[in-house]
Symmetry: D2
Subunit: 284 residues, 4 copies
């Protein structure tokens, strides 16, 4: 059995669902999952389908080509088709904080993440022992004001040579350049340690403490050119009180960060996220 | 425009989605919403569709008849079709607690609930002033051990004469008879003041206090013959601590109860709940 | 029995707790509740005590005077002492939204709020029927650009003549003047329909929808001169998804708003809130 | 500076707080934290104090002895006094699941837990590599029906020889004997993968799936003779839906389990938990 996932969005028009489901049926596929959404403000139609095709008669390339000719052109669709046979490749960027790294690698090790992790990149050596203990190659690429461009060149070479599909910034404490962002549009997942859009930028726990909020949060989003303003994938929060110091907020926040980031990664791997106009549709 | 909602479940088989969507397209309907689910343990397929038909050419009866002949028999479907033109009729049963009643009538008054409330039934007179202030007829039907059967007869007469679609037990402190339940299968919504299946039966807040739980809950479910064991529609919880007395739990619980019950009512009104084997599928 | 509640804060120094508890014991009081907090960043000490005194020998005025001489001057305390014999008086300000008003009056009616509500003020007539049905005097004081000052004069006269202790803005859609704020410092409770400091100002649900957040919130805070920037008393949030329209957010938000505002009111009534430097200490 | 933490409970009587705080002041201690609770149903008084004493004049043994003579006997107190100088020693029991182990050791490594972990005991070899990577001794003590008693003997020897203070069952899939429980009363922390008291015993996620609940939970509690019925320290929950399979519940549950267990461990280490009549008081 071949299992493929199709993500589509386009201007809303009558009969798109019937056209797509009919196309799959005619091509001997069986739809095992369908989820759809219409943004009535923007008038955009979104759909995600999982279909099964018996292996003997199925060619992914032929299907894609026919799909394009039959549907994409008619409806002006933006589309992506993924085969479940290919595991996505994920690069991890870290600095000195270890909680997200431990969490991701623990999940990876226990088979929770259907993904390959060819390497970890860090601007510091601190987390190399963790990478080693999980047997994942660790590349130390220091970043200073002067070497930023050169460092990014090294990063890009690694990303290219391993055909990386998407990047996870697991508390990577550097601002990623527009050049890198443009090469991985909606493919760089960041975890920000606040309930965005509150407390954009550095030291959000300090700002939250200062403002006296009763709830802190964490936000996972795709990285765009504007800092901490990309499409939000997942958010969660925790109640706090006046008894908690900044250190307590940071500790409690670590738990939020790792769960929120892991959930965002899982949604991305399962192709459940569709981005448009700086917002996400998260299919169930 | 005619807007209809279709709910279907049947044994899972290939191509059901394509068949249904195609049927609607062929009959000049446009699908504006589709949500589907397959229970792979039980091998059951579920789907909910909202479709629009231009009014001139559309007859609900003709559509139903054709739907039955074309699809229902082929796939052995269990199905329901609702027109948005008809507002469902809801009966409220209450006793002495007023918080759920205030909450429901407040929402009803502000237009949040697309429903008619022809009357309120109560075994006590206490809440009549609230019914009066909202201009809703209030029927006092006392229930004692001896008059239980007679009281229920009166209830049934009212329910029948107003063609009531579903009943909401808004903290109605009587056990409903199997006779009434059998006449309104999956159409009697109850609010139980615990996180079911913990603390079934009477005085759940007392039991929660005694056990020393750190979280209390409320559960809205359809009433079945077995007490507090019907299909769960909605649940929510709140954190508590040792500082809270039973009275505090009861007060906090009131807030849970009214929100959870209101959410369950809204899901039921929007035809978003499908019941099978004592569980619910809640469409988004 | 006389039950009094004491709230104190001052610069932190050794032995304050022992001094205060000793003072109460020596004056034949029994401490039934104590909660304390030290803000180590600002070096401020906070304490809340509930004590019982047998009625025969107890004079509140004499106790206050002795307390002031013995402790307040020694430690430079800011302090308040409340007797449980006196119910606080709360004024309600509303405009056109009814959900918070229904919720507060429902709680008031069922005895949940230990408070008096001498009147409701509104700049519109819409909610008069609700006030009438709960038998609470309703004062219609329209506010336009030109009559703003005059309207406030009328409000102040009402507030003064009834010796109002604190004001609740239950979705009152007018900005309160600095003059009124200065007369009720940390005594005007507002409900803002966002998770502050995100989405300050008008139409926060529209902003939340536009930003694509996955969680919405509500914040109850004391009103200060800077808009939506006063000390936060209570916050809560709810998860949302891309399927929800702005109208859905507004409806879901109503449930958050009424629960959060009610909780803030209850904390204020129980004298559990202490404000300093634009933050709150919420005693348990 | 010597920092000590005192936990007391006894029958409620007037003036206990003043007596205790006065005692500390007279003995040249400064109270930096006080939290108290009265269970008015059982009429029991609880208090937790943190006090600082300058090192030169302070002897813990002398203080304890004087405390006992002056207060304990007068009030019939049950009491415990801890010095912050001594790190508690924690033993970890695991089987095959690694998520709680990774989580605890990650926190331990980053300094989040003020504790020593002298060793890990397991009835399987599977998790030895994780123990090795964190440089913590791993003792493989297999347990079969026939060797259960002998295995426990080995466990007890290890526990004794390292003067272990408390035990954490981090998804240890064996029922601990009454003998071991009696030696560590309220000192064995377990994580149960349901919202107790719902779904006691084996396979709670399967039971939750079958019942169709909309929320799953995890509960950390002290182990007592009755299975899953000990005093609850911490609980948390997560919303689920019909779309989730048992495997999804288990995966989501892992995140709950590790956070809830870690929070319970932290509360225990900070001496914030007081147990009485099978319930806990959790000081803030």
């Amino acid at each position: 059995m071949n299992k493929i996932t199709i993500l589509i969005h386009c201007k809303d028009r009558p009969n798109i669902i019937a056209s797509v489901t009919n196309f799959i049926a005619v091509n001997h596929g069986n739809i095992v999952y369908i989820d759809q959404h219409v943004d009535r403000v923007q008038d955009i139609f979104f759909i995600r389908l999982e279909s099964e095709f018996s292996s003997e008669h199925f060619s992914l390339e032929a299907f894609k080509s026919l799909f394009k000719k039959t549907l994409v052109e008619t409806y002006g669709m933006k589309w992506r088709i993924y085969s479940s046979l290919r595991k996505p490749k994920m690069a991890l960027f870290v600095s000195k904080f270890d909680h997200c790294l431990y969490d991701i690698l623990g999940r990876y090790n226990s088979g929770e993440l259907h993904v390959e992790i060819p390497f970890i990149i860090s601007n510091h050596m601190d987390l190399k022992p963790i990478a080693d203990s999980f047997n994942i190659p660790f590349h130390h690429i220091p970043v200073t004001k002067d070497t930023k461009e050169e460092a990014e060149q090294k990063q890009l070479e690694l990303l290219n040579s391993f055909k990386i599909d998407f990047i996870v910034l697991a508390r990577y404490m550097q601002i990623v350049s527009n050049n890198l962002i443009s090469k991985y549009p909606n493919k760089i997942i960041n975890i920000h340690h606040s309930f965005l859009p509150a407390f954009v930028g550095a030291k959000p726990y300090h700002s939250a403490y200062k403002r006296g909020v009763k709830i802190i949060g964490a936000t996972s989003h795709y990285v765009t050119e504007e800092l901490d303003a990309g499409p939000i994938i997942e958010q969660d929060v925790a109640h706090i009180s006046h008894t908690q110091t900044i250190e307590d907020l940071i500790a409690k926040g670590r738990d939020l960060e790792k769960i929120v980031l892991a959930n965002a990664i899982k949604l991305h791997i399962k192709r459940k996220v569709l981005v448009y106009k700086n917002k996400t549709v998260i299919f169930y």
